[in-house]
Amino acid sequence: MNDMRTRLRDEIARTIRRGASYVDVRYYPREDSEFLLLMQGNLKAVDQSSTTGLGVRVLFKGAWGFAAASSRDAVAAVFEHAFANAEAAARLVSWPIELAPRTPVTARYESPCAEDVFTIPLHDKIAFLQQIDQQLTHPRVAQRITHLFAVTKTILFLDSDGAEIEKTIHEVFAQMNVVGVEAGGMSQTRSFDLRNRGQGTRGWESLRDPARFSAHAPRIVEELCQVLDAPQCPKDERAVILLPGIMFLQTHEVIGHALELDRILGYELSYAGGSFVRLEDFGRLRYGSEKLTVRADATLPNSPGSFGYDDDGIPCQSNVLIDQGMLTSAITSRQTILEANKKAGRQIFSASGGCARASAYNRVPLERMTNINIDAGRDGTLDDIVRTTKRGIVLDGARSWSIGSNREQFHFACDIGWLVEDGVKKGVVKNPTYGMNTLPFWRALSAVGDATTSELVWVPNCGKGLPSQAMFLGHAVPICRFDNVPIGR
């Protein structure tokens, strides 16, 4: 590693001498992953991988060039390509990229992990999945699917400002899913993902804790059986009460993505889309009701959205994005905040929010969600919220999601719904869906559960960017109620 560090430092210095204004490199000496998939008791996949590579980012005359290679032998060539790419990009610049100032740091970070998944014998991991598979076995379950995905990676970050950060990140994700078939042939599904409350560690021990994963197996089977016998979700307008298993996605899609500053500035228009949010909205737009306070909090001890330092070398931080319903800030990085301030004609952002991340050595850092969380409220438990609901539906499980290109509206389908009538949770309905325009929806937020209702849901697959990247992150969300939402469409 020390030899490599020296070579990389030399190449950074050489590239600066050629005229680059900024250079950074992320070297992955090793990234290991493991994926185990059990379907109907059959071990369909036991896939392990090992990756080595480096990615170099060069800023030249206000334009980015990036190059990557899976070969450690190609260090000089990768720097050369990145510089050439930046030179080419500098031929068409409309707003020269200017990085926000920061103090470069030398630091190390390791995500909390008590038992490294990669040190656990394979047969133990298989046995664990088989045990869950047995719990999912039921005459009415037509398909049982359980998977485990773990990643450990070490990243050395060096830049031309003198920053030097070495990170080791451990991640583990798991999901169980059951599919059943109604008498009429329509299938229904119910699933559960490994999650926690943002504390503790995130190794094999998190999977072994029954309360966090395996103990949910009988529940999802029972709920699937209820859905299979349930009537169709009515086409109606009701209060929707979202449990964390769908509330996380609601937060992700139409708060998280809508507040990525690169989207707001138009840098994602050719693929992921833009945002209905405009620069003039910061500090002025009522995004939601007064019950809505949202943070981008990468300081939670335990979540895929906590990573020590971002890929600009900025320390992780917690920032309020929406304060009692008012839009205050965005998901930001060094490369966008000065541009945003200048275009807005005022200072909206005082420093990078530390949200620049790349999913792999061969991808460029982008503004990505960290942990986009909703503050717990004072409206009690699920029972308390149901008790104060005249006509509503409790929803859980993210079955399908589709969002407008500016995040201005959305459509979600859930695994299960329970109708609420006169303050009482009634029977289950199948195929529940809901959808609405974004701002009226968040402004209709009428109840936010207390801290006991909050769960941190881990997300392994947030897509964005070209070349595209699937990012790991999290959402700590309480149970929330929204009034007068169209359902069943």
Partner: protein, 463 residues
């Protein structure tokens, strides 16, 4: 920096020998790529990237138990590649056998599948990419009309082998995927024109500029309108139709998913009419524009495979693993991509200008592109997604309006069952993702397809 054909083939033979000498039974898939992507936003190059990578995937067999190991490294690091072979075998030793018999067959010798490789496209310079985009947008940009988009091009070099013999199958191909987007600086609408190419000579900036210019003219002049949700006659552009056809791959045509109760098409519908008479869909690896593979990852030779012929459902696609599990016949569908070809119709409308000029008795909603499609219910075949990149309302009186984006929520059976006509001209729609390894994918689709009675379930009040 990419490896040569001979080097790839020789490396795989060395790995075959290494495995065989140790009694290891294994399959190999080697993937090398060179990728370049220039991204545009706010009328600038927002990112200019290149990548060179090589990955070896090894799947070791121990009876009916499998173990897979993948290493991303340099082809000259033979020790790392050999360690992957040992690691895969180690995993297979500890894996649990599946309850069904797994097929494992020798590779059948096939000619090298690299005729479509074009070095000039693979090595296209950033200057050439920029020149293309500047040509495609000449005269269209202004302070309020800004350029976004991407120009992705590159090549792959792939090889398959297994320890049952020393045959090494080889595939190499090049591709370009171009998306040119014009966006309004304040009004938050975007227009797009795309192009797909297998070789440099197919690059044609004028073919991108012409529809963009026409769309831009409409968006700058025609009145904007919020539609009322309801049933509409919709003309889908080739991009939108390709998206819908691809959703059928998993929710309609997959034999394994059918057995798992996750498709809207059922076994009982084989041989039955499920879609409109005018619709025929084939997975056709002879269609060069779809970046086809002559063989799948197990070395199974691929041939044209009719899925729907004149509306009649002809066959499910079977990967080897699904075929093994459900005692079916594999169909060469353990493959990095599919080569869907939608047969052309008879409507003589090849261009957007011709569509706009077409006499019409009722309003038509033109949707060139669908954004963020997803499956609401697999067995019902319900999908949902939004219009984007240049929808138009073509009124019966000949006038044209610009609708704010709308949401479609509809059954695929209805969409493909109420086709009024398909254009006689087809185009290649590049549907490649850029998440993982370079895997060029395209669908050949009619330039325009009219579908009646499409459910518009939400209409935006503005852009």
């Amino acid at each position: 920096m990419h490896p040569e054909k001979k080097q790839i083939q020789e490396t795989l033979r060395q790995l075959l020998a290494f495995a065989t000498a140790r009694g290891i039974v294994a399959e190999f898939w080697l993937h090398a790529e060179h990728s370049a992507l220039m991204r545009f936003a706010n009328s600038a190059i927002s990112l200019n990237t290149t990548e060179d990578a090589l990955t070896l995937s090894v799947t070791a067999h121990r009876g009916n138990a499998l173990g897979s190991y993948e290493v991303t490294t340099n082809i000259t690091h033979l020790d790392a590649l050999q360690r992957a072979v040992l690691a895969a075998d180690e995993i297979a030793q500890h894996a649990v056998p599946v309850s069904y018999a797994r097929r494992f067959t020798p590779m059948q010798p096939l000619p090298d599948d690299d005729a479509a490789f074009d070095e000039t496209l693979c090595a296209l310079t950033p200057q050439a990419m920029l020149a293309f985009v500047q040509d495609a947008t000449r005269g269209l940009l202004s302070a309020t009309i800004q350029l976004s988009g991407m120009f992705s091009c590159g090549g792959v070099w792939q090889a398959a082998a297994n320890t049952l013999n020393d045959t090494v199958l080889y595939h190499a191909a090049t591709d370009a995927n171009i998306s040119v987007v014009l966006s309004h600086a304040k009004d938050k609408w975007e227009l797009q024109a795309t192009q797909s190419a297998t070789s440099r000579r197919e690059l044609d900036p004028a073919a991108v500029r012409t529809p963009l210019a026409l769309l831009l003219e409409q968006y700058q002049q025609a009145p904007q309108v919020q539609l009322t949700p309801g049933q509409y006659a919709v003309v889908f552009g080739a991009d939108a139709l390709a998206d819908l056809v691809q959703f059928c791959a998993h929710t309609g045509f997959s034999g394994g998913n059918c057995k798992r109760q996750l498709t809207f098409l059922k076994e009982a519908q084989l041989g039955q009419k499920v879609f409109a008479d005018t619709l025929s869909i084939t997975d056709d690896p002879t269609a060069r524009a779809t970046f086809p593979y002559a063989f799948d990852v197990h070395g199974h030779a691929r041939r044209p495979f009719p899925l729907v012929t004149h509306g009649v459902f002809k066959a499910f696609m079977w990967s080897r693993d699904d075929a093994d599990e459900f005692s079916a016949q594999e169909t060469g569908h353990s493959v990095p991509n599919l080569s869907f070809v939608v047969a052309p119709g008879t409507q003589r409308i090849a261009t957007l200008a011709e569509l706009l000029a077409m006499p019409r008795k009722a309003d038509l909603l033109y949707i060139p592109h669908l954004h963020y499609m997803n499956v609401v219910n697999e067995t019902e075949g319900i999908v949902t997604g939004c219009s984007r990149f240049g929808a138009l309302l073509l009124r019966a009186d000949g006038s044209i309006a610009v609708p704010f984006n709308v949401r479609i929520t509809e059954k695929l059976q209805n969409l493909f069952g109420t086709i009024a006509w398909l254009a006689a001209t087809c185009t290649a729609v590049n549907t490649s993702g850029t998440y993982g390894r370079r895997t060029a994918t395209a669908v050949m689709a009619p330039a325009f397809t009219q579908v009646n009675n499409v459910s518009i379930t939400h209409a935006n009040p503005s852009f």
